[in-house]
C-alpha cells in the first residue's frame, strides 16, 4: 500500500494540504485529510492510472481503509 500512500500525499501536496508521515485506515479523506470533492476526483484519477480501478464507482468511499478494501477487491 506504499504506492497508495504516495499518491494520497501527492494529491495533498499539490493542493497545498498537509502531507502525512503515516496513515491510519480510519483516516477520513474529507474530515481528517481535508480533501474536497475536486481533490477526491484527482485522487481517483491517479489511483485509476496506477491500479486500473475507479475507487468511487459503486460503494461509497470515505476512508483510507475503504480505498484499500476496493483495491484488494
Amino acid at each position: 500500500m506504499k504506492k497508495l500512500y504516495e499518491i494520497v500525499n501527492e494529491v495533498l501536496e499539490s493542493n497545498e494540504l498537509d502531507t502525512q508521515n503515516t496513515f491510519k485506515d480510519t483516516d477520513n479523506l474529507k474530515d481528517d485529510l481535508g480533501m474536497d470533492s475536486f481533490n477526491l476526483a484527482e485522487l481517483t484519477v491517479m489511483i485509476e492510472d496506477e491500479f486500473d480501478i475507479d475507487i468511487f464507482e459503486g460503494d461509497m468511499v470515505f476512508t483510507i481503509g475503504d480505498i484499500k478494501q476496493k483495491l484488494n477487491g
Partner: protein, 361 residues
Amino acid sequence: MDKIFLIDKNTITYTNLIDYINLNVFSDEYTEWEVFILNTIKNLASKGVSNHTDLINVLHKNNKHIELLSSGTTGEPKVIYQSFKNMVRNISISEDDSVWAMFYHPNRMAGYQVLFQTLLNGQTLVNMRGYDYKEIQDRILTYNVTHISATPTLYKMILGPTFDKVKQITFGGDGSTKNLQHQISKYFPNARIKNIYASTEGGSLFASNGELFHIPIKYMDKIKIVDNEIHIHNDLVGLSTSIEMDGDWYNTGDLIEFVTDTEFKIVGRSSNVVKVAGYNVNLESIESKILKIEGIKLCKISSKYNSVLGNMLIAEIIALDGYSLIDIKRSMRDGLEKFEIPTKISFVESIELNENGKIKR
C-alpha cells in the same frame, strides 16, 4: 514576380493577373493554397471582372454564390453556398498599402474574408500557411506585415519578437477574453485590436473595435439571441442541404455572454459546454483563462466522465521552459474557480490545430 505576393497592386493589376492565369503560367510549383487563390481570381474573371471597379460591383451587388467548407471544429466539414454579398458586407474599401498575413485556409469563410479584403483594396497578401511558428515570425518582420487576422491560439504561438510594423490585429474564431487580447497586444505595440464574428453559414455578421459586439441596427430583425445562443435568419444563411433550420432561423451554436444590456462577448460553442460538479463549464472559456497564466504557451481542455464530479476537465499544456506543474497549478488556484481547475494536467510537446488555427477537438 515573387510568388509570395500574389496580389500586389504595384506589380500586378487584375487584368494582367488574369492574363497571367490565362496563359497558364502557374504550374505545379504553386502550393494548393496559391492555386486556389489564382482559381478564385480566374472565377471572378469569368464573371466579367477585369478591373477594380468591376470587382467591387461583382462582390457587392452580385447574387452569385461561392462554395465554402465550414471549419469542421466538430464533426465533418459541411459544404455551404454563400453569396459574395454576404461574404464581403463588413469589408471596407480604403486606399492604403496594407500587407495582410493569411493564416486561414483560403476556402473557408475566414480565409475568403482576408482574400476579399486584399482583393477589394488592391493590397498585398502574404501566405503564412505551411510555415512553422519561427518562420512565421520571420515572415511577418521580413515582409512588413501590417494586418493580421488569426485565432487567439495562433497569436499565442507566434509571440516572441516585437512586431512594431503591425497596425491592426483581428481576432476571430475562438472565444477570447480582453485580458488575453491585452497580453497578446503587448507584442504588437502599434496595433489596434479588432474582433470579427463570421460563420460559414451566415457570412460576416459583426465587427468591433473591442472585445464586445452588438447587433447592428440593419440586422435587428435578422439576428436574435435565444438562451445566449446566436440565431440568424434565413435571409442571411447560405444555401446547403446540411444546414438544419428551425423555421426561418438557424441556431449557430455560438454562445454569448451579455456584458451590458446590448453588448455581448462570444464565449465559445454550446457543444463545448460540460457539467463539472454541477457547474456548466465552457471548455473554450477555460482555455482562454488558462492561456493568461504566466508560463503557458498553449492549452487544450477536454472533458471525461469522472465518478466524483460527473465530468472532469483534462488539460494538455505546452509550457515555457522553467515552469513546473506545481507552478502552473498554483497559478490556476489563484486565477480560476475550483470547478474550472483541470483534474488531470499534463505537459505536451504539441497540440493539433485544425485548418483555421483552432484547437482540434
